[in-house]
């Protein structure tokens, strides 16, 4: 089917599937999914890391399945796809109450911002303090969830402020603005403009978004833009790579560059997501966010079939109750 013929439902499914494919494409996906293996196998992985360091071995360990089922280590979606699905499934609920039901659960895996917010909620703090009194208020947990709000055409603010503040909330607003526009059939360039317009220039995320778009625009196609984005946006100082001020600008810039080069279809999707996955420190979520934007623009039917199949079923690595959930069904509820 040529681009756009599936209409809004196809574009919403494209946003969800695109996020899950990008999530699967980034190298951290395998580490997240290895949570489905026994804890001792991950302990052995850490010991192999130490061995490599101690013995100057450049054969770096990867998640492995000694006496374990290998399915969790096959290509597939991980944390971002699960939190997106959870958001879509609970989107009609009061956001603080929905998160409150996760607080105190021992089987949940989440970003630092989300855990800090769950702890705050359990201690009686309400939004926006739950997202503000938060060492990772700036991360992109809410930006990932905002794909659901953008697909539903709704404001992501109340959801974002439970777990984030500052750039973390702005990242969510920008992503929802772009996805909402794309789901309505607005071209990528205008959708990216709408997202950037939501980011004040005197914030890190606003400055970085404009710098990323300028750098990628100058470089041309997405793969060519990788070194320029690394230099313009990734600072390599801090220990975690999920800052909204890094991943959201990368996603906006690569989605924009991909559509400029290839038009809004499957080719642009592959080029943009692949390039995002090359930015190693941002590869946990930048490919997912890039995939959501480009998948929404392309529509689900235009995405590569093998990737659609591989990224469709959740493994429950963050929210065990979602194991086996079909993400397309979840997307259908918002389409």
């Amino acid at each position: 089917m040529p681009w756009g013929e599936g209409g809004r439902p196809d574009r919403v499914r494209g946003a969800f599937a695109g996020l899950a494919i990008g999530d699967a494409a980034g190298w951290p996906s395998g580490r997240h999914r290895s949570v489905r293996l026994a804890a001792w196998s991950r302990r052995l992985h850490r010991e192999l890391d130490a061995f490599a360091e101690e013995h100057q071995v450049t054969s770096l360990p990867v998640p492995f399945a000694l006496n374990q089922p290998v399915e969790p280590l096959a290509l597939g979606p991980s944390d971002d796809a699960e939190w997106l699905a959870w958001t879509a499934l609970t989107i009609r609920q009061d956001r603080a109450e929905a998160f409150g039901r996760l607080a105190g659960r021992a089987d949940v895996r989440a970003r630092i911002s989300v855990w800090a917010a769950l702890d705050n909620l359990a201690a009686g703090k309400r939004p926006p303090a739950s997202g503000h009194d938060n060492p990772h208020h700036f991360d992109d947990a809410a930006a990932v969830r905002a794909v659901a709000f953008g697909a539903a055409g709704e404001d992501p603010g109340d959801d974002a402020r439970v777990t984030n503040a500052g750039d973390g909330v702005l990242g969510a607003v920008a992503v929802a603005a772009a996805v909402s526009a794309l789901a309505s059939g607005v071209p990528m360039g205008e959708a990216v403009d709408a997202a950037v317009a939501a980011l004040p220039e005197d914030t890190a995320i606003g400055y970085a978004a404009r710098a990323a778009l300028a750098a990628a625009g100058k470089a041309g196609d997405p793969f060519a833009a990788v070194p320029a984005l690394d230099a313009a946006v990734l600072d390599h100082v801090y220990s975690y790579g999920t800052a909204a001020a890094e991943t959201v600008p990368v996603a906006l810039a690569l989605a924009d560059a991909a559509v400029r080069e290839w038009g809004p279809g499957g080719a642009a999707f592959g080029a943009g997501v692949s390039a995002a996955a090359c930015l190693a420190s941002a590869a946990d979520s930048a490919p997912a966010l890039t995939g959501a934007l480009l998948g929404c623009a392309a529509g689900h039917e235009a995405l590569p079939e093998g990737w659609r199949a591989s990224a469709r079923v959740l493994t429950g690595c963050c929210l065990p109750e979602l194991a086996g959930t079909d993400l397309l069904d979840v997307a259908g509820s918002l389409a």
Binding site: D133, D202, Y238
Partner: protein, 323 residues
């Protein structure tokens, strides 16, 4: 009668002593500190970034006085820190290298403090005591000066932590009771802030556990202001709350305040330095234990080569002469 000079010296000697005492306890839990030392009360080695960055700030105040601006501080960062970073930075936190990277990128304040991820770090709070010495008795002015500094390297709660410490030191410099000093810290930050909420929670723990010995106070304080799901310890809202609670629980006495803070762990060199600055300002130079003072010599410039050779006692005297 304790002179302003005595208080200034007490403040910076207390800060340097806390920095040195707390350094080996950094990132340890109270339980691990108790298992290793019983009570950590003897300085083992030298001070760290807290003392050296404090000296750096004091030099700027002596040069610029009340006219000190964020642009003056930005210029000093460029000439005295950025230009002298050759390869790795030593002994600093994320906020310092993040600021250096932002400055090298050509950014200007306040974006330099917003660009990196550690805008809330205690890197401003750890160096804010000189603003309180310089603006003794005027907590609003001390907080204003600290904020001008913080705009270069911090944002949000990181700036509030610096404001709280500067204002508290300014009031401690008058010999006020610890409760009044803590009140000054609270008044320097918005009620609706992380720092404000943590300060109130920590001071409530200090009040409730005032007479108690042992781990009960430390554990209750950790439960009140230390998050469980973040590995780094340099959050200003946490460090300032721990430091103020330790100072109040120590009754404003130098040794009790500093030892209490250091034995709480987390960013122990910074929290003990802040507690020592407050207590030293309140009680003066003679109240800093002599066995600690003997361990404090000129700084080596391990973190900031620009301040190598300076002694906090001389820096304190210059600050007082500059007022």
């Amino acid at each position: 009668m304790i002179s302003i000079r005595d208080r200034a010296r007490g403040c910076l000697l207390g800060l340097a002593a806390g920095d040195a005492l707390g350094a080996p306890a950094e990132n340890l839990t109270p339980e691990a500190i108790a298992a290793r030392w019983g009570v950590l009360s003897e300085i083992e080695g030298g001070g760290t970034d807290d003392t050296e960055y404090t000296i750096f700030v004091a030099g700027l105040l002596v040069r610029h006085g009340h006219a000190l601006t964020s642009e003056d501080i930005e210029r000093a960062w460029r000439t005295e820190i950025v230009d002298r970073v050759d390869g790795s930075m030593r002994g600093a936190g994320f906020s310092e290298l993040g600021t250096v990277r932002a400055l090298r990128r050509g950014l200007r304040p306040p974006l330099t403090g917003r660009w990196h991820r550690h805008g809330w770090s205690d890197g401003l709070a750890m160096r804010a005591a000189p603003y309180g010495i310089f603006a003794a008795g005027d907590p609003a002015e001390a907080a204003r000066l600290a904020e001008a500094d913080g705009r270069v390297s911090h944002t949000g709660e990181g700036i509030l932590g610096g404001r709280a410490v500067a204002a508290a030191v300014a009031v401690a410099m008058t010999g006020a009771a610890p409760s009044e000093v803590a009140q000054a810290a609270l008044e320097a930050v918005p009620e609706d802030s992380w720092t404000g909420r943590n300060l109130r929670a920590a001071l409530a723990v200090a009040a409730a556990h005032g007479q108690e010995n042992g781990q009960g106070f430390a554990r209750a304080l950790h439960d009140a202001v230390v998050g469980a799901h973040y590995p780094w310890t340099d959050l200003a809202p946490e460090a300032v709350a721990l430091a103020l609670a330790a100072y109040v629980r120590g009754g404003g006495q130098v040794e009790a305040s500093v030892v209490t803070a250091a034995n709480l762990g987390r960013d122990a060199d910074t929290t003990a330095a802040i507690a020592g600055a407050l207590a030293g300002a309140g009680r003066g130079e003679a109240a800093v234990p002599e066995r600690w003072v003997r361990r404090i010599g000129p700084v080596e410039g391990r973190c900031l080569p620009a301040v190598a050779g300076r002694h906090v006692r001389d820096v304190a005297d210059e600050l007082v002469e500059g007022t």
